[in-house]
Symmetry: C2
């Protein structure tokens, strides 16, 4: 029997953090299995005791890979990068790597946690304007940064973790009806990235758990 099992991704089709990991797998050509965790059905399947054993934070994604169970999307992607380095998702130069990680962290710490499902459930009625506020605040910072760092992609002309984080955040922005014409650099990069196969196959519109009415 082969012991080299495929990685398993516990995720949700519409979770932007799950989408980051799906894209990283796709860019590196890594085959994996998906186990859907429905964040809204049954009051949220991530809240079960069984799932909590895998992910004490009760969030998606979780990945089982190489005998370890990992959570936190960027930590998972850095692990994939270190163990499956080709094609790379970080540039060679330390300065450019730092720019990539700065963009990732701005999104992953500075925007997404302030507009995710758990937080918005606590906010209640004002949740749309709350989400818009924090996405716009983040994009107002990201736009001038990307204007300096971007070539064809977020940092220069090579695809990186920054691109993997950008696209799902723009998807969230559009769900919350943020006017993206304010952010021409972000908008242009997103449009370019969405033409790539790795973003298409990992898109929320075509996952195993995507409901019929939301399928592309």
């Amino acid at each position: 029997m082969a012991t080299q099992a495929k990685p398993i991704l516990y995720g949700y089709f519409r979770s932007s953090c799950s989408w980051r990991v799906r894209t990283a797998f796709a860019l590196k050509g890594i085959d994996y299995d998906q186990v859907p965790v429905n964040l809204v059905k049954d009051g949220g399947q991530q809240l079960t005791e069984q799932y909590k054993e895998l992910n004490p934070m009760r969030q998606v994604p979780t990945v089982k890979i190489d005998g370890v169970t990992l959570s936190q999307s960027l930590a998972i992607i850095e692990y994939i990068e270190e163990t499956r380095p080709s094609p790379p998702l970080l540039p060679a130069s330390p300065q450019k790597r730092a720019q990539v990680r700065m963009i990732c962290d701005l999104i992953v710490s500075g925007i997404q946690p302030l507009q995710n499902l758990y937080l918005l459930q606590k906010i209640g009625d004002e949740k749309v304007s709350w989400a818009q506020h924090f996405i716009i605040r983040g994009f107002e910072a990201l736009e001038p940064i990307l204007k300096q760092t971007a070539g064809k992609f977020c940092v220069g002309n090579e695809i990186s973790m920054a691109d993997v984080c950008l696209v799902p955040q723009v998807y969230n922005a559009e769900r919350f009806k943020v006017d993206m014409s304010q952010f021409p650099t972000i908008k242009g990069l997103n449009e370019t990235l969405l033409t790539l196969e790795a973003f298409k196959v990992s898109h929320p519109s075509c996952q195993p758990d995507t409901p019929e009415e939301l399928r592309a």
Copy 2:
């Protein structure tokens, strides 16, 4: 004239994200200059146009190093690790590195942004119970993770970025009167870490901008 200038840290004595970077510099024995950015005086010095040029997100820390300007504390620390690898702040094994980054990201994305100054200003009257809620939620996830990964420090017996992130988050928890006896693993690690010189010299109680009445 020497062109190899010392790094400059733009930070605030009580900012947990600034403290992370101060500790990383201290652990690696890197000499640096500090420029205080007072987050409350004058309505917040991080909001000036001058500072926005350095950090479009209008947050601390920002670091000028090796001719580049970087923001986002973890991106800064990863850059320091890549360019000044000794002593290391990441273990050698990819699995253990992933555990370190998972712990860092749980704090940096999953706790801190939900209790930071900007957010709490938006929350208003309920800010203390809000901050407690999100810190306790995060620590309830972190405690069982650390129970599995910790030795003397967060991951095994070598100090890492995870420790650098943990201590400032416990400091915030204590400011918001979270009962730390619920989290014996976190509490014990924090007590051990606070005995180390690198955490002492970077502590909010002894920075250039620490007000007289808060000095240790």
